[in-house]
Amino acid sequence: GRERLRQAFEVVDKNFSEIFTRLFGGGTAHLRLLEVEENEEEEKKGGEGESKDEAAEAAKPKESKDVLEAGLEIMARPPGKRLQSLGLLSGGEQTLTALALIFAVFLANAPPLCVLDEADAPLDDINVERFCRLIRDVCKTSGSRILVITHHPLTMARTDRLFGVTMQERGISRLVSVDLQSDGGIREREEQQAV
């Protein structure tokens, strides 16, 4: 159990730092396994990044005595900024950091299905493009299946296929196949039932 978990941690930490740097176009991020009781302490003091001396802090992660009991700490530093507590990151920055962590685990052990419900809502256009490039690449390398629920035309344009949900009869949901028009609008295909 312990050995497997430690190996999983190494893989996820490496993936996380690579995906974070890719999504933010720079910066650094990594994970730490911390003693649980130490965690409570850290949280109170503001843990995840209070320290100004980032390099030294990161160099000696307080490895937990028992991996099986440890909690997962996130250290994230957008490009050009100081290491700060995660709560000070903006809405979009927190979303990108969470996506980096989810897909760090995804690449370590691809699930048979993944659904993201409007995960692109807080992102600006540049970050929506980066998000889309990431999930397309993840799909290709792992052969997995990802459903993205979205209102964003940039995301719609990056999918392999689109399903529309309509309520032509008020209050009743039906699935229809849709095509993206060149102007970004959506048009229903003739046949009413999804292919």
């Binding site: 996130i74 969470a98 962590l101 685990v105 699930p111 659904v115 979205t150 039906r174």
Partner: protein, 168 residues
């Protein structure tokens, strides 16, 4: 293992029998506000064994049964089936050698939920365990509900640990 199709009937706004194909690569789901997109994710979590009505955005589990519209009466039951392709034989015993696994959950007003796998009635536990292996179950970090993407950031270090278990 791959999920290949979700079938709904009487589940929230999907009153008519609906087949939702799940295919390789990236599938976009689009539509106006309130048309039923998030209800699809609710149905996925529900068929995988979600026990809390709060995670169904409901005030009781029966709220997921079609409750009628201005023109149609309410229904008395709801059903969801997730079809899984197990041709790589990764499912745990006794399903290892079964090529296709269909897990169905059904709820009737005033009498609760029941599960069946390939037509055979099973306990909720059996369906949940099957999904826990596959995708981490109804609370999988890969099923990200609307407005909750940044929840991982505000979660405690202990809560985030579940992610590592998923990777191991």
């Amino acid at each position: 293992m791959r999920a290949t199709q979700l079938r709904l009937s009487g589940f929230k706004s999907f009153v008519e029998p609906t087949e939702i194909p799940i295919e390789d690569g990236l599938t976009g789901v689009v539509g106006p506000n309130g048309c039923g997109k998030s209800n699809i994710l609710d149905a996925l979590c529900w068929v995988m064994g979600e026990a809390s009505y709060k995670n169904m955005r409901a005030k009781s589990m029966e709220d997921i049964i079609f409750s009628g519209t201005a023109l149609r009466p309410a229904h008395n039951h709801a059903e969801a089936t997730l079809v899984i392709d197990n041709s790589d034989h990764k499912a745990r015993a006794p399903y290892r050698d079964t090529d296709t696994i269909e897990v169905t959950r059904r709820i009737e007003r005033d009498s609760g939920s029941s599960y069946s796998i390939n037509g055979r009635p099973v306990l909720a536990r059996e369906a949940r365990v099957l999904f826990a292996d596959m995708i981490g179950g109804a609370h999988s970090p890969f099923l990200v509900h609307q407005g909750r993407i940044a929840q991982l950031i505000s979660a405690s270090p202990k809560e985030r640990r579940i992610l590592l278990d998923q990777a191991a």
